[in-house]
């Protein structure tokens, strides 16, 4: 939390200096929103560059929809600003902002056919009939719906309707495209197909886009950058690679797919975890000797071996006993109980000691491991097997001093 806040301020400072640079197509500054007494958004700031796709990722109730509606002008912020291409639009009504919103329900006008829907923005702008026809023709070609131009929305599939919705907003050359859970109503196959299509389309038209979604896979694939939202604030903002592999908070780590979390203690250039020493280069300003930390790693970051022979780059953490082997199509998932306990931090004031109790008598910690097919085939494992566990990559997160703050 503390880290996330300090990070936010960092981002704030960074972006303030770049507010007026031409590459920022859309930015929000210090956005907050309240409904009654409860705060929905707290000090939200981010920038979207020209042609960039930013994904706001969060669970329902995290405030992502509210941010989108505020940018669109459908809701007013309590504090903060919305800036589109250097113009402060916070006080402007939705119709004067020139943003394109693709609603989850598509919101196509049911009594207008595809052509009429796409041309709507130009018709109400009183453009010449010829200009409207040319634009509509061009957009129909772009979204590949030429043969459906006379159809009504109810006669189109979900994917086609969404393409009409996008074309309808592109017709008036929006400053930014806002996608509200764009694939929520579609089945998995169409969804994957469609998001590749939209990604390609956005590259073609070079319009900045903000997506909101609760689907982490979607976020990682669609976004040039991803902002992870939790309870109305941004936990972390970064490239998909950064937020997946270097999560700034425990929330980010666990929200983006499965994550194992073990507690450890900082000892010089090492971390003491489950009785083993893990070499780690740590930021001396953030971590001091004796500090308790969390070690976060993905199930695919763990290497399981039967002997003590480790491959280079992997660091041993513990040995464990396989509790469960599950086959999940593309890979295999193991549930492994650690043989050594990881309670160094439970009694922070007491000095570190070695216990003589057998591992079985103490509460055990389990972690989850995934292995690819080749790996699983090289070393077959079954329930009850004793294995050595090593990490190829991990992230270290500080534990706030107050013990209550652990959720």
């Amino acid at each position: 939390m503390v880290r996330a806040k300090s990070k936010l301020i960092e981002i704030d400072r960074k972006s303030e200096s770049t507010t007026n640079t031409p590459q920022s197509a859309a930015s929000v500054r210090g956005l907050s929103k309240r409904f009654g007494k409860s705060s929905v958004l707290e000090n939200i700031s981010f920038d979207v560059a020209e042609g960039e796709a930013l994904v706001l990722l969060g669970a329902s109730g995290s405030g992502k929809t509210t941010i989108l509606r505020i940018i669109a002008g459908l809701e007013q912020p309590y504090t903060g600003k919305v800036i589109l291409h250097g113009r402060d639009v916070t006080e402007l009504p939705a119709r004067e902002r020139g943003v394109g919103v693709i609603f989850q329900s598509y919101a196509l006008f049911p009594k207008m056919n595809v052509e009429k829907n796409i041309g709507y923005g130009l018709r109400i702008r009183k453009r010449k009939r010829r200009e409207i026809r040319e634009t509509v023709d061009h957009l129909l070609e772009l979204v590949q719906l030429q043969e459906h131009r006379k159809k009504f929305p109810s006669q189109l599939s979900g994917g086609q309707q969404q393409r009409v919705a996008i074309a309808r907003t592109l017709a008036y050359k929006p400053e930014v495209l806002l996608f509200d859970e764009p694939f929520g109503a579609l089945d998995t196959q169409t969804r994957v197909h469609l998001r590749r299509e939209i990604r390609a389309l956005l590259r073609k038209v070079n319009v900045p886009a903000i997506f909101i979604t609760h689907d982490q896979e979607e976020a990682l694939e669609l976004g040039d950058r991803v902002a992870v939202l939790n309870n109305g604030h941004i936990e972390q903002i970064g490239t998909p690679y950064e937020i997946y592999n270097r999560p700034a908070t425990e929330y980010v780590a666990t929200f983006l797919g499965a994550a194992n979390i073990l507690e450890g203690v900082v000892r010089g250039n090492y971390l003491e975890v489950a009785g083993s020493k893990l070499p780690a280069v740590l930021d001396r300003e953030k971590f001091r000797d004796g500090d308790c930390v969390k070690i976060v790693f993905r199930p695919e970051d763990v290497v399981a071996t039967k002997g003590d022979l480790l491959r280079s780059g992997a660091h041993r953490i513990s040995s464990g006993i396989v509790d469960e082997v599950t086959f999940i199509g593309a890979y295999e998932r193991l549930r492994v109980r650690l043989a050594t306990s990881v309670d160094e931090c439970k009694t922070q004031e007491e000095p570190f000691y070695l216990t003589t109790e057998t591992p079985e008598r103490r509460p055990s910690t389990s972690i989850s491991i995934t292995r690819s097919k080749p790996e699983a085939n090289t070393l077959r494992l079954s329930t009850g097997d004793r294995i050595t566990l090593a990490l190829t990559s991990f992230t270290v997160l500080p534990i706030p001093r107050k013990p209550q703050s652990r959720a």
Binding site: V99, A107, M112, I124
Partner: protein, 271 residues
Amino acid sequence: MRHVRGFDVVRPLSIGMLILMMLPLVFLPLLSIFVFGTRNGLGTFWNALVAPEAVFALKLSMATSFWATVFNVLFGLFASYVLSRYHFWGRNALIVTISLPTAIPTAVAGFALLLLWGPYGVLGRFLAPHGIQLMFTAGAIILANIFVTFPLAFGVIKPVFDTMNRSLEEASATIGATRWQTFWHVTLPSLRGAIVSGALLTFARAVGEFGSTILVSGNLAGRTQTAPLYIFAKFNEGQIEAANAIAIVLALFSFLIFSVLFFARDWLDVD
């Protein structure tokens, strides 16, 4: 033999019983209008129909019902818009009040209008000295029609408003439309079916209105006598043929309106 075993006796019996019950209650009364009306030949029927007073009564009914319908549809649209968009204190009280006129006996409605606008009425007494007389005119008939059909169009339009997807209007706004453009291009087309049904219902009900009309119109033949009043008057005078001719027209007219409402339902509800 298998089809005999599967034969459901209840089916033809229940259908037969339904028709049997409707026979004396609905079918026979309607049928007798046509039987009596054409008993003396179509010539008599036609003569009764084109009598100046009869034609006037029919025209007056249509005209007064038309204006009452126009008003109530516009009002219904406006009231639906306000009451489904905004939530405010007293909103439910307003909804109940709008719906009230259908529950009030029509004679009471007519009486109430008289007490308000009549020469000695609450407001009428201030108008009378200026020579303004609202009661016993076509205007009074329109007022009575508006009152008794007040909630009909509203009742059809409001549910459609309530269930309408708000993101359609939001989409229109973000595309750049003003509130009026959004209403005209997006909201109104979605209400087309409800507006047509509401108008037909209101019109059908207004054409047949009797109880309130007889009180406020004065029932002056050739001046304020509507079709239902004409039927009543001619019946009292013993001119059964004259009453019957108009009765046939009104019955056919209602039949037509409700057929449209029933069979054009798909067209009216297209999304």
